[in-house]
């Protein structure tokens, strides 16, 4: 209860930090709300404005035609892979509408919650973490609007900190994240440490191939302007072989891998054997690690 209280307080503090509101600080806001006798509720309208502003950022993030369109378009394809891999590994009924019931899943680098929400709808108990506070706010706001996703726990933290807290999950997801971390090997170790024995780890990223350079950087950032310039740095991409190796060193055996292929005619992604650009890997942690 106390920790909950702190978290709630933190949330309110964060909003203020985001909007740099000079009129209010978190402490005075909280007491305004709880002790109305001493402070009339003058800041309430301001507060509403801020929330509205914030909600419109969330709308942009979640707009399937907006700046995050590539992610929205790719999401069903990622989920197809995750659904089938996890159903097989955890022996869940693939015909169930909620096959992930009973699974604890962490979504590392959750962004606005684009993966966390479907995982929760599929029945999983989801924790979404992101190092960027704004993303966590967007994710909380959006997921909070639907009872099916409002149970997701979103925290502004990192995989390393979760390890320190001793958290464990049945499945650990890190999609389109590893290309942005400083030390992929260390990151994989953290993911492994978060995974329960006999649990699963899913990682997706971009291959360090010439085709990936042409599509993920030249096409996506410069030609199509899907992504802001400088989103990706080619040299920090991992090849599938490298990923398999660093995961193996961290105690995760990659059992399945698939590529994502974009069809410019239909505008849709599909799963394929071609792992030369975008690929996703599913690994399991052996029981004795």
């Amino acid at each position: 209860m106390a920790s909950n209280h702190v978290r709630n307080l933190n949330r309110i503090i964060t909003i203020h930090r985001i909007f740099h509101n000079p009129l209010l600080n978190a402490r005075s806001f909280f007491s305004d709300a709880s002790l109305p006798q001493t402070h009339p509720s003058h800041p309430s309208s301001l507060k509403d404005n801020e929330l509205a502003k914030f909600a419109s950022i969330a709308d942009t993030w979640w707009d399937s035609e907006g700046p995050f369109k590539p992610l929205h378009v790719m999401n069903p394809t990622r989920l197809t892979f995750i659904r089938s891999a996890l159903c097989r590994h955890f022996k869940k009924d693939p015909y169930s509408a909620k096959p992930f019931e009973g699974l604890k899943i962490v979504d590392v680098g959750c962004g606005g919650g684009i993966l966390s929400e479907p995982l929760a709808r599929l029945g999983a108990t989801v924790t979404g973490v992101d190092a960027v506070e704004k993303n966590i706010k967007i994710a909380q706001l959006h997921a909070g609007l639907d009872p099916a996703t409002s149970t997701i726990e979103f925290c502004c933290t990192t995989a390393e900190k979760l390890v320190e807290e001793g958290r464990k999950f049945d499945a650990v997801m890190a999609l389109e994240v590893i290309e942005h971390v400083a030390d992929p090997a260390e990151f994989c170790k953290s993911l492994a440490a978060l995974t329960d024995p006999d649990g699963a780890t899913v990682i997706s990223t971009i291959n360090r191939s010439m085709r990936a350079y042409a599509t993920a950087i030249v096409a996506a950032e410069y030609v199509l302007r899907w992504l802001p310039k400088g989103t990706h740095e080619w040299s920090s991409f991992l090849t599938p072989e490298e990923l398999v190796l660093i995961l193996q060193r961290a105690g995760i055996n990659v059992e399945e891998m698939a590529g994502f292929v974009y069809n410019p005619v239909t505008g849709r992604w599909s799963l394929s054997d071609d792992i030369s650009v975008n690929f996703i890997a599913f690994g399991t942690k052996s029981k004795n690690t």
């Binding site: 709630n8 509408a97 929760a120 709808r121 609007l145």
Partner: protein, 508 residues
């Protein structure tokens, strides 16, 4: 103090659907003067006035709307959905008992083999077969000029039948019975839709704090207000409310189309023996169709000008039937023969493989002897919604497209819509998508729009081709009939297209 507040808060949350308090709390706290007061208020509301929440609200419980519910009930991914059906038609709630001896209703549909297989998979077709219905394996289409005719036979495409005619009430009841067989949760609201807010953005949700409902309830949901004063929430609103769709109007979706300034007279007639063939003759005033309905009954769909339709409606039974028999026989022109224009030879080099019906001769439809129902008159129009899907909203059936009843395709397009939408919803659920998400619903639009427009264009083209009585054009039409009758690949593809198989009616 804070600790006490916190306790009250968590108690409240324990009473409700679990949710993250972040945005709700911030908004409500900001807007209220006391946390405790707000908690009390919200607690009361939790018990008294929370509107029911559904996954899908189907507005319009006609054949297409109920077919969607039936398809959803039959699939493992979607059978757990909570569905509300909004329709003020009292027949929905009380299970209408259909007796086989009842006189046949003039409102019938020609169900294509493709639609039959959808209904079979959903467990509804067996109920149709328990009531009056008529499979037909032959079809004859000809025109008043006597220049051409075409006969189609199910055996041309290795099928047992070309379609089945059933009364709309039989189809409707069959779909309802099959939903009752399942443990699918549908709630019927015998009411009309009065207002709708789709709540498409979280911004509007946050700003609209005057509503008494908790945010998580109305969040990703559309709110529907009903004529009985109640309101419900749904993640997806399906407009299945017909050609004059209120949902479409409320959503501001525009339509393109035109009225034909033609009416159709619809009625049931009786013969002295059973009719086993579907007949259609193009007259200068519009087409007349005679569809078998089982027993000795047939259904008439006769298109004509509004004045003529009113005249014919008020004629005595005897005179009306005389008109029908003449329209199906020598009225307006002679019977076609196979040798005219020598088309048979003209196309003979093109006959790659002979279809069975090519050798069939022109037949005269069975005489109509008695009028077995009232005569109903409907105006004809063509209407197409510019969009089938937006966030939290889709249109199916006549709400999306109204077609000429020429080939009885209307309800088949609607069943096709319902089937496609049910699959796409299942696909979305399998991947944990929000079923009101526009990306998902646009898939349905992409799948159905082209199919529907194609069929609409063909039916409209037929209609237009026959609204002009002009010599050279008549010969061209006659030649086209002959072409359609003798070029077997073309003929096969026409039959399979009309049977609801998704292939363009062009060669092969």
């Amino acid at each position: 103090m804070n600790r006490v507040v916190k306790k009250t808060l968590s108690n409240v949350f324990a009473l409700k659907i679990p949710r993250k308090p972040f945005c709700t709390e911030a908004v409500k706290v900001a807007g209220s003067t006391s946390v405790e007061a707000f908690n009390e208020l919200e607690k009361n509301q939790t018990f008294s006035k929370v509107s029911p929440q559904y996954d899908i609200a189907i507005v319009g419980g006609g054949m297409v709307g109920i077919a969607l519910a039936c398809f959803l009930a039959s699939m493992p991914m979607t059978k757990l959905l909570r569905v509300a059906i909004i329709d003020s038609n009292p027949a929905l709630g009380s299970s209408l008992h259909i007796k086989k001896e009842d006189p046949p209703d003039p409102r019938v549909s020609t169900v294509t083999p493709a639609s039959i297989s959808f209904l079979q998979d959903a467990g509804a077709w067996k109920y149709v077969e328990k009531n009056r219905h008529a499979y037909f394996s032959k079809m004859q289409v000809w025109d008043y000029t006597g220049l051409g005719y075409a006969r189609y036979n199910a055996r041309d495409v290795d099928k047992d039948f070309l379609g089945c005619v059933a009364e709309n009430k039989v189809l409707h009841n069959a779909l309802l019975s099959s939903i009752k067989d399942s443990d699918f949760k549908t709630t019927i609201y015998p009411s009309r839709l009065t207002a709708m807010s789709l709540n498409t953005s979280s911004k509007s949700m946050v700003e609209n704090t005057t509503s008494e409902e908790p945010l998580s309830a109305r969040g990703h949901s559309a709110e529907l207000q009903l004529s009985d004063g109640s309101s419900i929430y749904a993640k997806l609103v399906v407009g299945a409310d017909g050609g004059k769709s209120h949902v479409r109007d409320l959503a501001g979706i525009k339509t393109t189309g035109w009225n034909y300034s033609q009416n159709a007279i619809i009625c049931t007639v009786e013969h002295t023996s059973e009719n086993g063939c579907a007949w259609q003759r193009f007259l200068p005033t519009g087409p007349i169709a005679l569809l078998p309905m089982g027993d000795k009954f047939s259904n008439i769909v006769w298109t004509m000008s509004p004045t003529e339709s009113n005249n014919r409606k008020s004629l005595t039974e005897e005179e009306f039937l005389k008109g029908v028999n003449s329209a199906l026989n020598y009225g307006h022109g002679p019977h076609p023969t196979s040798s005219l224009l020598g088309t048979r030879d003209m196309f003979s080099w093109f006959k790659l493989d002979e279809t069975i019906s090519t050798n069939e001769f022109f037949e005269i439809p069975p005489k109509v002897t008695r009028l077995a129902s009232e005569r109903m008159v409907f105006p004809l129009s063509l209407r197409h919604a510019n969009s089938y899907a937006s966030k939290r909203l889709v249109l199916i059936g006549d709400a999306a497209h109204t077609v000429h009843p020429l080939a009885g395709q209307g309800v088949n397009l609607g069943f096709g819509d319902a089937f496609s939408l049910s699959r796409i919803i299942a696909e979305g659920i399998a991947l944990g998508s929000d079923i009101g998400e526009v990306n998902l619903l646009k898939k349905y639009e992409a799948e159905r729009k082209s199919a529907n427009i194609m069929m609409m264009a063909i039916l409209d083209g037929f209609q237009k081709a026959y609204s002009i009585d002009f010599g050279p054009l008549n010969i061209l039409r006659g030649a086209a009939f002959h072409g359609a009758n003798y070029i077997s690949p073309l003929k096969k593809s026409i039959i399979s297209y009309a049977s609801g198989e998704h292939k363009l009616p062009i060669f092969f």
